[in-house]
Symmetry: C2
Subunit: 336 residues, 2 copies
């Protein structure tokens, strides 16, 4: 029997909706989560595709997520919309706030959306990509759980604190990146542990603060940021902006709130959107064209844009569907 199974995107969608609704997510939450799970599987981001359903089910069974929470939109200021997710999943809160957020960005030139008290799905690229599809430049950031030591330190303070960015490219898929400010994703340490493989140097330190390549020692110690003191500074910025600035938990507070349930982290998210047509007026198309010259200077020398690999996967999946490990598929069938 084959180790994998081929599914159409429609089948991925149906399976996801079934699993989520069966396990206590409302129809609205199930749809919002499924949109991103289909996108993740389609783009071959395995950790945010069908696999993530296991996390969603674990979180609602063991954590504090409210599968029926109705997000509340608060008009905080001229350029700020807040969405109180009321301890539901982040994605419905994002969708609910989105039209208000876009309207504010167009009216003011830039705007912020703060999502509060959400169990975060943790992929930021679908959100910034959807803003870019509206012609906006977008940034997004969140804390997570305190697993990462600051540069020069030995004890975890920061989360994996991802930063995502999107730039609209008229007539093309946008320029998008989404990276953790930790040297590597938390899941990669776990993966090395399960496979009995040593970690590369520079990923982690043990509980005494010494560099380690032992995944178990790393899990008991701390992860490191990417890029030394600069990555550490960036991680601190994200912790502050997507935590205290928006009146929500830091990674340490989120971890304490989880109380070892191992659920999806609950915290806030900050998104920023910038409207190039407001910044530039009638010079907008001229300057979006200059951005294309920048991309051309990168790709013409054989370097890759951050989103290229994902878009190639998307083209394949749109054509031929997706390939899923059979074991995962069968686990999910049991959860319907």
């Amino acid at each position: 029997m084959s180790e994998t199974i081929q599914l159409s995107l429609a089948e991925v969608r149906e399976l996801s909706l079934n699993v989520l609704q069966t396990n206590g997510y409302s129809e609205a939450h199930s749809k919002a989560i499924t949109d991103v799970i289909v996108a993740g599987q389609r783009d071959e981001c395995q950790s945010h595709g069908l696999y993530r359903l296991l996390v969603c089910v674990h979180t609602i069974r063991n954590g504090k997520v409210d599968g029926h929470a109705v997000p509340e939109v608060v008009d905080q200021a001229k350029a700020i919309v807040r969405v109180d997710a009321r301890f539901g999943n982040s994605l419905l809160a994002f969708q609910t706030g989105l039209p208000h957020f876009i309207r504010k960005a167009r009216e003011c030139g830039l705007a912020a959306m703060a999502i509060n008290r959400c169990f975060h799905f943790s992929a930021l690229w679908p959100e910034v990509e959807s803003l870019a599809s509206e012609g906006l430049v977008a940034m997004a950031m969140t804390p997570s759980h305190a697993w990462v030591a600051p540069a020069g330190g030995t004890k975890p303070v920061f989360g994996t604190n991802p930063l995502a960015f999107a730039w609209p490219r008229p007539g093309r898929t946008p320029f998008v990146f989404d990276f953790a400010t930790s040297a590597i994703a938390r899941g990669d340490i776990e993966l090395h542990r399960r496979q009995g493989k040593a970690l590369p140097e520079g990923w982690a330190i043990d509980a005494d603060g010494n560099p380690t390549t032992d995944p178990l020692a790393a899990l008991k110690g701390a992860m490191l940021t990417f890029g030394g003191h600069k990555g550490s500074a960036l991680s601190a910025m994200i912790e502050l902006m997507a935590g205290p600035l928006i009146g929500d938990m830091t990674s340490a507070e989120s971890m304490a709130f989880d109380a070892s349930a191992g659920a999806t982290p609950c915290h806030g998210e900050l998104l920023l959107a910038f409207d190039p047509t407001v910044f530039l007026g009638d010079r907008a198309s001229e300057y979006l064209e200059k951005a294309e010259s920048l991309f051309e200077a990168i790709t013409s020398q054989g370097a890759r844009l951050p989103s290229q690999r994902r878009y190639a996967a998307r083209a394949r999946s749109d054509e031929a569907g997706v390939t899923v490990p059979r074991a995962l598929y069968e686990d999910l069938l049991k959860l319907r």
Copy 2:
């Protein structure tokens, strides 16, 4: 004779004002530049202290800077102020736009200031620090000249593209960082060349795209970003946001504009400001206190906040003045 000379901050100020005015900067520009030169020397950022006067004089003698340009403030949108520096130095443009920028941030919750067509002084920390002293969270970014290759590439596209950030700390000096997204400052490569020292690995590649530790080969090839593909993505973001988004030059365009004059780069700058009291309302002091817990979690384990070394230097200089190389001092006396 001693190799160094001791100066009071008042003497640094007077020397700076004299040199700038003698060499063609208006009184307003001389004062704006001097404020930052005094701050740089005081904080022992040698490259942005008195040394920088040599660059300012070289730039006005060899470049296209207009020493008498009067910045023009444009009310671009509810949350955007633009300042056209009209090919003058960036600092007077910053000072001129600042009250408008702060007012917009307070009115809208966040705001952007785009400075256009400025010869950039290139230290961003004094600007974000002055925003933090108004109780605002601040970011600043600029391109520079195309010296830095994208990850996976071999040819320079990006500038050293610095990112600065400040977070206000009631009753304390703010949390501030200001780092180049290149692995190292351009000047450090030049310094190694002059001293005949090999570069550390990971700083640069030669003209064929191979890693090099030879400073001369690096200057003919390309610098690398910090943090691999993540630093490269961040550098691209800065290039886009502080270039095309604000209708100004990319690092490649700025370099072409300079036409080998070796002047201070001419380009734009983007600043963002966020008002915590608008984001948080009456919860502001509670959440600024939570940020203090984050800083405490960093410093209590012996790790340093990014700005700590500079503030320690500031305290010394405020007490005892500054120490300057005698050769630099004598060079500057000749320029008065």
